[in-house]
């Protein structure tokens, strides 16, 4: 799964990426873009995998006061190292509070105290509905994925949901094989009505960050490409999506990672390349 490093891009992206030094991988760009999306957020529920490194990077850069919540039962984690798993002794030592999972899911998440739930996904559709359960038929799957974990309840109860995942024709699909976590369902109007009727405190998916760009959701509830990463092309975006993507009129180019962001990822957060290789 090693990725080709690309040179720092020329042109506008490079100009805005002051301090960007040398090359960076698409995974690094994705992690950096995801971390930046957390600027101004207060309480973030950290999912396993890529969300874990993105959130920990945000806490070291754009959002030092971010309260990290781990479903394992930790509020206000101050991890001294980036844990491989989302349950790890380093998220406990020095944390503000450790609770049972009943309380974490009930009193924190379902109660509406989480501003951002940060998820990964195996499949996503245009409305941000997520599959992390199976590829193929449920009873006899082609690939058995991990399942919901806390994702189903994060998608329903977190005030906003951020998604980080690599995009490909197999992951950005017209129709997901299994709906593990609801997004904007069949569209914004329907989703808003159901969320209101059901008393859900969350407003659903807000940002999707991939290895090619950053998406938000438009008024119809559909994903829209708002920023293209340096080095990525619209052709690549279209080739890796199962539907014809909406693209912002004022499509931006994502500022490249800064030297500091890259140093934090490479030296501090992921020296063994568990997340980035």
């Amino acid at each position: 799964m090693s990725e080709q490093r690309m040179p720092a891009p020329a042109g506008p992206a490079s100009a805005s990426a002051s301090g960007s030094a040398g090359g960076f991988s698409r995974t690094e760009m994705m992690i950096v873009a995801a971390a930046r999306a957390l600027a101004g957020q207060r309480v973030c529920f950290v999912g396993v995998g890529l969300p874990n490194i993105a959130v920990n990077l945000a806490k070291r850069t754009v959002s030092p006061d971010l309260e990290l919540v781990y479903e394992a039962g930790v509020f206000g984690a101050e991890p001294a190292r980036l844990p491989l798993s989302i349950g790890d002794p380093t998220i406990v030592t020095g944390a503000t509070a450790v609770t049972s999972m009943l309380e974490l899911f009930g009193y924190y998440l379902q109660r509406g105290l989480i501003d951002v739930g940060f998820l990964g996904a195996a499949q996503i559709d245009r409305f941000g509905n997520i599959n992390t359960t199976v590829i193929g038929d449920y009873a006899h799957p082609k690939t058995r994925l991990p399942g919901s974990g806390g994702a189903c309840e994060i998608a329903i109860n977190a005030r906003q949901v951020f998604v980080i995942m690599r995009q490909s024709a197999r992951s950005f699909v017209e129709r997901i094989d299994f709906r593990t976590s609801p997004g904007n369902l069949g569209g914004a109007e329907n989703a808003a009505r159901i969320r209101r009727e059901q008393g859900w405190l969350g407003s659903g998916p807000s940002v999707v960050v991939t290895d090619l760009g950053v998406y938000h959701f438009d008024a119809s509830g559909e994903m829209r490409l708002d920023s293209l990463h340096p080095g990525a092309s619209l052709d690549e975006v279209r080739a890796t999506m199962g539907w014809d993507p909406r693209i912002a009129d004022d499509l931006a180019t994502t500022p490249a990672p800064t030297a500091d962001e890259l140093r934090l990822i490479r030296e501090e957060l992921d020296p063994d390349g568990m997340y980035t290789k």
Partner: protein
């Protein structure tokens, strides 16, 4: 009150029976690999294995042939990949392992309903997802206050729950710090409970800090003293998660023969956890100790006479 201290061999032989529903709980923290290995070693059969996160221990137990069914909410090797032994018996047309699947909060709610002797527990999850379609035990329930529908899950009442903890006294009064997972709920929900501890302590140590007690001896059937019994999982303040083991398991578990070889060498070939720790070696064990202590501080309960 009599001591419940027992060897792992006796505790598993006496309390785990073929066909039982067994929950070895602990969310990344305090997973009793020692109990799981002893269940494999004693060749228990037809178990229904319940755990929020089956983790490597249930991958090994499934590979070891003890399981008929899994009840779970997240099936993976966190940060590494899938659980390959379980995938071999759950993917494709030849899938042989029965699966009953929830979300994390659903599993916690099931244990809580069991612990509270409730016929169901309500939660806001599952609406507009496919989970209730594939698990008919997840059922809608109307609020009696006319404000909508939520979902319910049924109680989970394991025949046996095994939890690992930092310490307990001989009666089974058990204290934990760090991640609590759903160990309290899983223990109170069960018919029989095995507590495995790093240290056996006097009751006076427990009673000096009663707010730290998560499970009282009254629900505990056996106390097994098994230092390093959670490896490659971890024990807050005692040893670190052995991430290397979690990574190394991936290539082993991808190959059925390698998996069998590992079980032969590390489970069937050993008499118990003490031999396992010796085989792991001093250096590996030492490398997992915390880099420095992080003491909690003392609070004062005061004497009131």
């Amino acid at each position: 009150m009599s001591s419940k201290v027992a060897s792992m061999r006796d505790a598993v032989a006496d309390l785990v029976r073929d066909g039982d529903t067994v929950a070895i709980e602990g969310f990344t923290h305090l997973i009793s690999f020692a109990a799981g290995h002893e269940i494999i070693r004693q060749r228990k059969r037809d178990l229904t294995l319940a755990r929020m996160t089956p983790d490597l221990i249930y991958d090994q137990m499934v590979a070891g042939g003890v399981a008929r069914k899994l009840i779970f909410s997240w099936l993976g090797n966190p940060g590494v990949g899938g659980l390959n032994a379980i995938r071999r018996v759950t993917e494709g047309p030849g899938a042989s392992l029965e699966m009953e699947e929830y979300s994390h909060f659903g599993m916690v709610a099931r244990y809580t309903a069991g612990a509270m002797n409730l016929p169901f527990f309500p939660l806001r999850s599952y609406f507009e997802t496919d989970l209730p379609k594939v698990n008919p035990l997840i059922r809608p329930i109307d609020s009696p206050y006319g404000d909508g529908t939520v979902y319910a899950v049924p109680p989970l009442r394991p025949d046996v729950t095994v939890i690992h903890a930092q310490r307990a006294d001989a009666e089974g009064n058990t204290q934990v710090w760090g991640l609590l997972g759903c160990q309290k709920e899983a223990a109170f929900a069960a018919d029989r409970v095995i507590v495995v501890v790093e240290e056996l302590v006097e009751g006076s140590i427990i009673r000096a800090d009663p707010n730290r007690t998560i499970v009282p001896g009254i629900v505990v059937d056996a106390v097994v003293v098994e230092p390093f019994g959670a490896h490659p999982s971890y024990v807050q303040g005692y040893y670190d998660r052995d991430n290397r083991f979690y990574r190394d398991w991936d290539p082993i578990s991808r190959d059925a023969a390698l998996t069998d070889g590992w079980l032969a060498e590390w489970v069937h070939g050993l008499s118990g956890r003490a031999e396992y720790v010796a085989k792991l070696g001093e250096e590996r064990v030492t490398s997992l100790r915390p880099s420095a202590p992080a003491p909690s501080g003392v609070v004062d309960y005061g004497e009131y006479r």
